[in-house]
Symmetry: C2
Subunit: 341 residues, 2 copies
DNA sequence: TTGAAAGCGCTAACAT
DNA sequence: ATGTTAGCGCTTTCAA
């Protein structure tokens, strides 16, 4: 092999190799404009033979169009967000838009950094989890001049559009179901909440509804760190050793709920007779446990699909640029741990 | 508020607002070159006040430097890849490089599309799962002129660098442990493998080692679709109803293994006396089951860290551009389902 | 320490 | 159907 200069190929190289002007080469490669079948063939042949890879940086600069949608979420370890992403991808597939993922680790400062990084690539839209953010993040989004869809949560003010569920309402619905099933000594187990606003709102909706029925949370147990079965076991043991008379445990996610379920079954508790359980999220993965944990589907995939659709709709010329607000209704799945039959 | 033209801000705007030349504004914003403290202040003030967000597209085109590293993986639903990603992020944090994720869904054609999309942004490096790919993908990577690290697997030819474990060896190690524990009627449960080369290699290493000991796999059960507890239950029921005399079940991942464990406990099997179990991956999440499933740690986080480090090292001027090949050693974790005591 | 000029590789807009 | 021209917004290079 000779040693060709290790310079990335440009349109000009394809142009010279095919004997067609750069402009026409560009048209062929983008499939835009009228090009004769003959030239098209020549160009595609040459591009393929050379192994030409277009330079989107130059293309984006020239056209001021970037086919990227920024998707900003707190974490990938959570099982929740991958499902939202798959809804987004599914909807974007077939369009020319591509999702690009940024992770904030639930840290507002990191959100700012990620957002600045993302916006500096001039994406066509932003999909971002949650409604609570720093002033800097807020003004960056407000000033970006592109569609912004805030997802997962509808309890608050959206900058532009939003798609999600009301977590206060989710907490309320769960509380109502628990009360109706006749439970009265209710414990709560969840994350330390300063950063997790959605868990906090569920907790608020939950306690408020209990309060209206004249019931106070009997005990609560918080933890930091990722969700895992073992955490659920430990927390359940802790809360029950403190408050052995609890008859219901509400977990802020399914993973710790499942851990609690394992623990209680080990210890021979009668579920849901002696004690009832509920989690949150509707994690499919966990079907297959000895009992189906009561949970609430957070409509994750649908949220992703609808958010992506909003971005797509905004691209339509002359389309109504009015913000779209969509509140989905979470569905309670009583499973085997909530309804005493 | 007045209605400022809804045009994205440019360096020129900051330049005019601060009375400093564009060039010097650029220097301040990038922190390069000597700028007097006074001008620096003026510029930063103006940029902040206007809410200027740099345009990386223009910057990248002018400098032919892009601070992006493409990370291409099959899936996010797997729990395996998020951990690799977190290793990559952790190592890249503090450098100026940023990971960008692409998903292939285990489809070679999608890998080609994602790869072309990624390379067209001229990233500084590529980290990509697996060693098996289409010829088109292969030649794109070979011709990209940037560091390429293939991860997760070391059984095969790397284009440039690679970091991973030998899945054949992982299968062998597991087989050896099972034989040593005295099991003889061994069943395998896993994914349909045409696309999942790593699972296939584990299976090959596993059966070959059994074969050397004069033992054949007694039965096998394959499935398509994501890993989930319920799948593991169903598959376990299916294989045992066909082959009730099996004394060991080797699962190709921990999730279906855990489902099998649940099923067997339900049915009152004596584990690991009557029947032993092992999975693969070392998924932390599942600690907290009634028994700890035997598994093998695939070094996911370390793979991510080392891969990112290879990319970083290549950036050093005049650094040795020789390909790096790293084979990590998976660790068998016998848990409670492999060793009969 | 600061500024002016020249392009990075492509595409919009306008010829032809 | 194809070609020409003039930038996109920034950074490199060179000059002051």
């Amino acid at each position: 092999m000779s040693t060709p200069p290790k310079r990335p190929l440009t349109l000009r190289d394809v142009s010279e190799a095919s004997g067609v002007s750069e402009m026409t080469v560009s048209r062929v490669l983008r499939g835009k404009g009228d090009v004769s079948e003959a030239t098209r063939k020549k160009v595609q042949e040459a591009a393929r033979a050379l192994g030409y890879v277009p330079n989107r940086i130059a293309g984006a600069l020239a056209s001021s169009h970037v086919n990227l949608v920024s998707v900003i979420i707190p974490s990938l370890g959570n099982m929740v967000f991958p499902e939202v992403l798959s809804g987004i991808s599914a909807t974007l597939d077939g369009s020319d838009l591509q999702p690009v993922i940024g992770i904030t680790d639930y840290q507002p400062e990191k959100e700012e950094k990620v957002l600045l990084e993302m916006l500096s690539w001039r994406p066509s839209g932003v999909i971002i989890a949650g409604l609570e953010r720093s002033e800097a993040s807020h003004s960056m989004l407000a000033a970006a001049g592109i569609p912004v869809v805030e997802i997962m949560d509808t309890d608050g003010e959206a900058i532009d559009s939003c798609v999600g569920i009301s977590h206060r309402r989710a907490g309320r619905m769960t509380a109502e179901a628990i009360l109706e099933a006749g439970y009265r000594k209710i414990g709560f187990l969840g994350t330390k909440m300063p950063q997790d606003h959605r868990a906090r709102k569920r907790f608020e909706g939950f306690t408020r509804t209990l309060g209206k029925a004249g019931i106070e949370i009997a005990d609560r147990e918080f933890y930091a760190g990722g969700s895992a079965l073992m955490k659920g076991r430990e927390m359940t043991e802790a809360i029950l050793s403190r408050s052995p008379d609890l008859d219901f445990l509400y977990y802020s996610n399914d993973m710790i709920g499942a851990g609690g379920l394992m623990y209680l079954l080990d210890k021979g508790y009668d579920i849901p007779g002696q004690i009832g359980l509920a989690g949150f999220n509707g994690v499919e993965l966990l079907g297959g446990l000895p009992r189906r944990l009561a949970t609430m589907d957070a409509c994750r995939r649908e949220i992703g699909e609808k958010a992506a659709q909003i971005i797509l709709d905004r691209k339509v010329e002359g389309a109504d640029p009015a913000p779209v607000h969509i509140e989905l209704t979470p569905k309670l799945q009583p499973g085997d741990t909530l309804l005493r039959t």
